[in-house]
Amino acid sequence: MRAVSPSEVTRADDQAVREELERTWADRPGFIGWLSTTDHKRIGLRYMITAFTFFLLGGLNAGLMRLQLSRPENDFLGPDAYNQIFTVHGTTMMFLFAVPMMHAIGLYFVPLMVGARNVAYPRMNAFGYWVYLIGCLLLYAGLFTNTGPDAGWFSYVPLAGPEYSPGKRSDVWAQTITFTEIAGLIAAVEIIVTVFKHRAPGMSLNRIPLFVWAMLVMSFMTIYAMPWIASASLFLASDRLIGTHFFNPAEGGDALLWQHLFWFFGHPEVYIIFIPATGLVSQLVSAFTRREVFGYTAMVLANISQGFLAFGLWVHHMFTTTVPQLGSSFFTATSAMIAIPAGIQIFCWIATIWLGVPRFRVAFLFVLGFVIVFVTGGLSGVMIASVPFDTQVHDTYFIVAHFHYVLLGSLFPFFGALYYWFPKLTGRMLSERLGKWHFALFFIGVNVTFFPMHFLGFAGMPRRVYTYIAETGWGDLNLVASAGAVVIVSSVGVLLVNVLRSLGSGAPAPDDPWEAESLEWATASPPPSYAFVHIPVVEGRSALWDRSAQRPVVTGLRTNVRDTLVTTLVDAIPDSRHYDPRPTTKPLLAAIGIGVTFIALMFTPWGLPVGSVVVLIGMIAWAWPDRRSYAEQVAYEGHA
């Protein structure tokens, strides 16, 4: 059970090996190196920074909304600006922040936690990031040129359709979705294959860290859910651009079809965010109570059952439409049943804390905050599974309160993970003192902002209103909520100060500052480009706590080319080796090609044939190895 110093992982004569590995795995120097990197750590970090930037921008949108709503008949924002801002807020938080952030954390840490040198398909990884970045820039370029989507993050037709959304605002939304979904799907496939085939020897499926399990379930959900929204936004775009009739009831289309397609993706989406958050909580709980999480199998099964059940709930977003009653009852039952796996998880964490020795570091405080905030949101979630009750609170501020409790509930483990992994990411510790301020302000701010909204919902305040008249009496609680938003903003301010100070003058982090269990702590902070000098062999479920005295490692991987180990699916027995190509700017160029294609498609159907040519060129360039890589690969295969 005792953590082992990571330096014991390595072998005696390592200095030469390290130098050669560094030469092999390092990026090219300078700006080209920055553009051409295929290192999952650099890309993952970049992904995180981008997603966090858009979190700040989405938060800025929220701040503007709270300012507008702080008193009745406020004329700070007009309806046109407000509608764009609330749409962009929702779109940003769901598509540019929450899901990409979870993918980013996965892309950075999953390979380290399973003991791999790099993620599977590193060039696709780079491509996915660039496509995601283009999607982000498109949405905000739209907002800043008054072309921000204004039909809500859910883009219900006919409001988002060709007749009621003139101009290109809804097209910006549809293409932003396309870009982020492409990126999300790529990340999901990479994570699945990395977990399936790149695990360190000995890490059989029943020894995978719980966060990795959560990422695996989440990635499978992504693969099954995201094509629905990608197709739906394609239908919407073609209704708008080439006059198809998917959503036009007068020509055999159907407005509710959009809602079915959207929510068949949209509800799993919530769990796509929440399940990795539970994985983070499991890692944090185990690290800060110094014992492995109680009920590993139950936790894994809970995640998997959430993954399945999440696909059976979508109609509970449509209880006030004309869906049949009988169908609604089924969805009520499934919606209530998903509380059971969530309950199992909560009870197992509490049991772990009960049995363990809690250390009240900032990351652990965020776990406690998570449980409180998330259980509150979960309970209101069970309430709205009820059809009669939902008809009252649907599309009101009660729902706004509910899902902010759930989603900000998932933000608590994210912040906790930031304090936990920041040393690994940067080699610096964050300040615990500022962190406690961050936690306290955030916890207070979330509750002050969102708890009153439950009552606003009962009092009749619908969502998505840019203002309200004084006679409704909603002014006071709205002012309280806006005051809470100020507290949230200040807590994020404290976090930023903490991060910036730490980057400048934070205490240097040791390799394993928390004496935690998983493999990412078995390498330097920050990890070198090749991740591990020797890939460790895993001897138990808690990789670093369950080590024998021998501390076996993998030897024989080549150090002068990017040689990676492929293991078997279930038992992680070494099976073959895979040549990882050199870094290249081709993914960036391909992403630009795809970006130009889809942006052109907002304006003209000719984007499609032109785009096909661009894709052809991209494909040739991608597949065609340069002379040096070719020689290297032939030599690699000959060597085997």
Binding site: A351, W354, V357, V382, V387, F455
Partner: protein, 321 residues
Amino acid sequence: MTRFVLALQWSGRHSALDPAGPQAARIDSLWQFLWIVSAVVLAAVVAALLYASLHRRRHAEPEQAGAGTRTVVIGAVGLTVVILLVFLGLNFGTGRALTIPPDGAVQVRITGKQWWWEVTYPGNPPSYQVTTANELHVPVGEPVVVELGSSDVIHSFWPPDLVGKRDLIPGETASIWFQADRAGEYRAQCAEYCGHQHAKMALLIVAESRDSFDRWLARQRDSARTPADSLARRGQEVFLASSCVMCHTIRGTPAGSRIGPDLTHLASRRTIAAGTLPNTRGHLAGWILDPQRIKPGSRMPANPLAAGDLEALLAYLETLQ
């Protein structure tokens, strides 16, 4: 507890928790169960969490899981299942009670438009049909069935004091029934995002005794009379000669366009601009001159009338009782 909090905040306001009809009352009693159970569950989880965190923080080594821990966790999960089953039972009971509309209900049709409500009472013969806007009159203590449709985008009808909401979806017909047990005015606001003025699309429900409801309905059937005094007569000429006539109907005059609300009995209505302003002379004047200041994006254009014309027009509109 919640009643107390709401009473502080909301005395005399509208609320789903201050039901004025049987359906809202059933939903309210479901809510009473839900929040009490939720409060207990939340308190129990927080207590367990804090106690678990604090009770052995001075120990050095973690414990192995014993049979006791497993039993407690399984028990907690079992209790969760039991609570959920009770919840489902209550929920289905409530749902069944709410969906069956009683016989002999008053029939009304509501059409959602960007951003106002057209209210139609079917008539027999059809010429008895009554069309009004943004105001729904119902008799107290009698069930009302509202047929809901939309002529543009999706809207949602929601009077929180009376019943939950129902969407108005283009291409589909939905219906909802409710009953007001107390006389009074209830506000219903559009609850599905429908564009620029989603925020200012409210409907006033006036529940009154059967007698006054019948009187109201009979009066609404009448056409507008040509006004007696000369100022109002001039106002009618202004109405018919200006842009008003392009969009509005006043039965009994050549104005017959159905783009905007029917104004035949405008002066009998309590609010203008879909529940945005009280129907007073000053507000009406401001609304006619520059609606875009009050509801930016509204379909009603500005009408820069000369002072005399405006005066006359207002005098005319006030005769439309």
